[in-house]
């Protein structure tokens, strides 16, 4: 009996191994969303994917494997790097699979892949949109790990260990409690949301997607946006996640922070659409709502990245 349990653990891993694996995959999804979301709202990429032949799709898939492999070998899709080339090849396959699954889900959510979409059209869109997602999955872990490492050095300073940096991360956390921390988070959400949504708001994609978006689809987009932004900030292991959870400022519980930041991102999205003339004062409220919810997805992802950078 005990031997059977031991075999099961060896084969399927224990609970902590599953938790680590889930976090690694979540980090890949979050990294892909951070880097690939603007391209998901670019109709030229949909068009390139829709117009591609099977040979062109295969060529693009083959070409996208090379930079993903190089990034994985340099940075590591998971936490360990540098990697043996065979491990890097394995993680490359995983990063590309994460990109394919995530992109397919978001394209279905946006109505760009439906049951009426021809197979070659859908495959083209998935491969052309999936490449930047896979790159994001491979590189995000490395970029945001730097922030975490800096936080860890701050902790070492507190404990008087070698490798300490000037200043104390704990002091920073203490300073970030209360209104200061809340203001910093909201400010960085606004900046991140502005940064990403400004690239999409002037284009025709949002009005085009809004025209075809049903209330059910909009509700699904709201739900997915909240889950993705929560995952980026609190679930994916980016940056100084533990310290973020320890913050006690106003609205800084993970759930309240996520929902508040989402509402801020919606306001930013509506404001940017207004600025670029894709919304006007006096437009009917359903139009304002569907435009803001659609642009709210990339805006909220940008806002989450902004909060990680603080």
């Amino acid at each position: 009996m005990t031997g059977g349990v031991a075999t099961q653990v060896a084969l399927f891993g224990d609970e902590s191994a599953w938790r680590t694996e889930a976090t690694d995959l979540l980090r890949g999804v979050a990294g892909g969303m951070l880097f690939g979301t603007p391209l998901l709202f670019t109709m030229e990429v949909w068009g390139i994917g829709a117009a591609a032949t099977p040979a062109g799709i295969a060529r693009s898939l083959g070409l996208s494997i090379v930079p993903v492999f190089l990034l994985v070998q340099t940075a590591g899709f998971r936490r360990q790097a540098p990697l043996h080339p065979l491990d890097a090849a394995r993680e490359t396959v995983e990063a590309i699979a994460v990109g394919i699954v995530t992109v397919t889900a978001v394209l279905v959510l946006l109505g760009q892949i439906t049951l009426r979409t021809p197979a070659v059209d859908a495959l083209g869109k998935i491969v052309f949109e999936g490449a930047p997602f896979a790159l994001g999955a491979a590189v995000a872990s490395h970029l945001f790990r730097q922030a975490r490492d800096q936080g860890d050095q701050g902790d070492q300073a507190d404990r008087g260990q070698p490798g300490a940096t000037q200043g104390s991360a704990r002091a920073v956390v203490a300073d970030r409690h209360g209104w200061h921390g809340t203001a910093a988070d909201l400010g960085s959400t606004i900046i991140g949301a502005l940064f990403v949504s400004s690239n999409i708001a002037p284009t025709a994609e949002i009005p085009m997607l809004a025209a075809a978006a049903s209330p059910l689809r909009l509700l699904a987009i709201v739900g997915v946006t909240l889950i993705v932004t929560y995952a980026i900030v609190f679930g994916a292991g980016f940056g100084d996640q533990q310290k973020r959870r320890e913050q006690r400022g106003v609205l800084q519980h993970p759930l309240t922070e996520t929902t508040t930041a989402y509402l801020v991102a919606l306001v930013v999205a509506a404001a940017v659409l207004l600025f670029f003339g894709n919304l006007h004062v006096g437009d009917p409220w359903p139009q304002v709502l569907d435009h803001a919810v659609l642009l709210g997805l990339p805006a909220a992802v940008g806002g989450a990245a902004g909060r990680l950078a603080v």
Binding site: L11, F12, T20, L25, A51, L83, L86, L123, I126
Partner: protein, 129 residues
């Protein structure tokens, strides 16, 4: 060179699922690639009833690509003619992309198209991507 890292159980399962996803993608692309492909063949026809609201008549038409290749910038022309054959109203629309075996619905809006008039539809042109 760094040594190989032993795989945890969940990592093995993730890798197996990832390989399956990638093989399914590559297999689908290869299968589509070996199928014989025909040139784009565009048809257009009225797909619903005429709807009249005030002086405006709304006509829904369906543009379909019966071929395998994608057609770009598909130009659809519509003409309303009276029983004497005289053109009463004209319209034109362009569909950005029409993949193989895809169809799109378009709505033409005509002014003063009486019920006895006829609608003529044709595809004027498309771009080969």
């Amino acid at each position: 060179m760094t040594g190989r890292r032993p795989l945890a159980g969940p990592e093995r399962i993730t890798f197996a699922i990832s390989v399956a996803i990638l093989l399914a993608l590559v297999g689908s692309i290869a299968w589509l690639g070996i199928q014989p492909r025909t040139e784009a063949t565009i048809t257009v026809e009225v797909s619903g009833d005429r709807r009249t609201v005030g002086p405006q008549t709304y006509v829904t038409v369906r543009v379909a690509n019966a071929g395998d290749e994608t057609a770009e910038a598909v130009q659809v022309m519509a003409k309303v003619t009276d029983p004497a054959g005289e053109v009463v109203a004209e319209g034109e629309q362009t569909v950005d992309f029409l993949s193989g075996h895809e169809d799109e619905d378009l709505v033409f809006v005509f002014e003063g198209a009486a019920p006895e008039t006829e609608i003529e539809l044709r595809v004027a042109s498309y771009l080969v991507p």
